[in-house]
Amino acid sequence: MELSLLLSQLFNGIATGMLYVLMAMGLTIIMGTMGVVNFSHGVLFAFGAYFAYLIAEKTGFFGALLLAPVVVGLIGMVLERALVARVYGKDPLYGLLLTFGLAMALEEVIRIGWGTAGLPFSAPGFLSSFIDLKIMFYPAYRLAVLGFILLLIAALWFFLERTTTGKIVRAGIQDSVMVGILGVNTKALFTGVFGLGTFLAGLAGVLSAPMSGIMPTMGDNVIMPSFIVIILGGVGSFWGSVTGGLMLGIIVSLCIQFVPAVAELSMYLVMALVLLVRPRGLFGEEGLFE
């Protein structure tokens, strides 16, 4: 086995894992704060990519990177106000059912709007080359995505840990009823959290488009891994999502290279194993949904 092959798969794993982390972060703050398992997260990821495709025609890649996730976040906020907010406080199963139906309908909206065939989407010119890392050549775009998401995770961490709004969000994950009693406008908080979560899904969609192309079912390929990441890391846990995402990305990428037959199976095996042995996940707190 060549070292460079192993290394490049490892890098691929980290890059994929980073996308999972973005998705999982959005899902986990929504799940932690409102108790809603958002099945429509995958389709909003796809929306991110499709909007980027539209916007990039006018503004180029970076305009799309900036705008498309914002549009997705706004759509998320509208969906939250109009639909999701109605199931708060009910059995969590209703949130799951609602967003399942929503995902089904929205995926069809994509097919109506853009057709069933895949669309091409390329990285900006200066990132489409390969970079010499001495031991191997690696696509510049993937490296850039890696760095960008690392920065983003740092920014998110700063927001959640160091700003007042972020502290309110974290408190909401702990106990949203108590936060309401303390005088915070939870209605606005919930809409904001849903917006932030879906913004992250849209952003992940834009970033993944040049790597894996754009198609209506692209959300399917990331929604399940993202759920698994949350289960691995624990609901509502920041570092749990990061660790879980990286673990899963690396495991799947290495399997694709060395035991392709079980590549997709592997993540479900990992999930089942963790859930059976440690249901709250690696970093999760006891009690949430358990």
Binding site: V37, L83, R86, V87, P92, L93, Y94, L96, L97, L98, F100, G101, L102, A103, M104, A105, L106, E107, E108, V109, R111, I112, M224, F227, I228, I231, A261, V262, E264, L265, Y268, L269, M271, A272, L275, L276, P279, F289, E290
Partner: protein, 312 residues
């Protein structure tokens, strides 16, 4: 009596409707296999609802048992040349055993985590079916088997197969009703209404939930075996979590607290899909939207609306 007079009348009425349905379907521009499909999904959803509506547990993994039995039926006919009278029970037994094993592993988890675990195990089956090319035909699916005779009864023609499925369908209705009328069924409902109280009463909650999981999965298996025979085809999507979602959708739209709810949901699902798909390939959009509306505003489903109309 395990069935009340009212039960017999209601099930008899539904049976009478389905008995004459093959005569009606061609008249409204539909076809007999559509009726067969409604009964197959009806068996799937009615069984599934023992778990969802009956005892309040959401599974997104029952397609695994549906598809497992579908593939098993095809393979037993194709490779082992088993007669149908053995192949179908063997396939259903396979679903039963798989559910008993998986249920034992996951039944202790609650709510969302349970639903996620059912997806995880279901997807394992899905990937095995789509990757194990030499056995299952991979993503192309399993073809080459055909339904022929069942104990001397030729079920190849569409009408004959319709009445063949009708027999299983009727047995399913009777069994599910008898189960929900029995003390076991009452215990399941008690667990759904208040787990803690059921525990205080000394009920072994997990045992009952496991039982409901296995029984519902066995019906998924029966439906899957019949579905594979209807199409003479088994394919990976049968096992996908979205197919499990279809069973959930049928139960919710029809009304998961009403006995015939899942059957009504299955009928609506098949008809809507067939009607809408003659106008547009995008039937999932209206269907998804209808589902959302039901989850938000009509949580008792179509039959729940009627119930309200009766002033109950």
């Amino acid at each position: 009596m395990i069935w009340s007079k009212k039960d017999i009348l209601r099930i008899g009425a539904v049976a009478a409707l389905f008995a004459v349905l093959p005569l009606l379907l061609p008249k409204i521009g539909s076809s007999i296999p559509v009726g067969t499909e409604i009964m197959v999904w009806g068996i799937f959803a009615m069984g599934f609802n023992i778990l969802l509506g009956g005892t309040g547990i959401l599974s997104f993994g029952h397609a695994a048992f549906f598809g497992l039995a579908g593939y098993a039926t095809g393979l037993l006919i194709l490779k082992d040349r088993l007669p149908l009278v053995l192949a179908i029970p063997a396939a259903v037994l396979g679903a039963f055993l798989a559910a008993a094993l998986i249920g034992a592993l996951i039944i202790r988890k609650r709510g969302i985590y349970f639903a996620m675990l059912t997806i995880a195990f279901g997807q394992m089956f899905y990937f095995i079916a789509s990757q194990w090319n030499s056995l299952t035909g991979g993503l192309d699916g399993l073809t080459g088997f055909k339904r022929t005779v069942f104990l001397g009864f030729d079920i190849t023609p569409e009408v004959n197969f319709y009445y063949f499925v009708f027999g299983f369908f009727l047995l399913t209705l009777l069994f599910v009703k008898a189960l929900m009328n029995s003390s076991i069924g009452k215990t399941l409902v008690a667990i759904r209404e208040n787990v803690h109280r059921a525990e205080f009463l000394g009920i072994d909650v997990k045992k009952y939930q496991h039982f409901a999981f296995v029984v519902s999965a066995t019906f998924s298996g029966l439906a899957g075996a019949l579905y594979a025979l209807l199409l003479n085809f088994a394919f990976p999507e049968l096992l996908h979590w979205k197919t499990s979602g279809d069973a959930v959708l049928m139960s919710v739209i029809g009304g998961m607290r009403a006995f015939f709810g899942p059957l009504v949901g299955a009928g609506i699902f098949v008809f809507l899909r067939d009607i809408i798909s003659t106008y547009t390939p995008h039937w999932a959009l209206p269907l998804g939207a209808i589902f959302v509306i039901f989850v938000l505003f009509f949580q008792k489903g179509v039959l729940g609306i009627f119930e309200r109309g009766n002033g109950k």
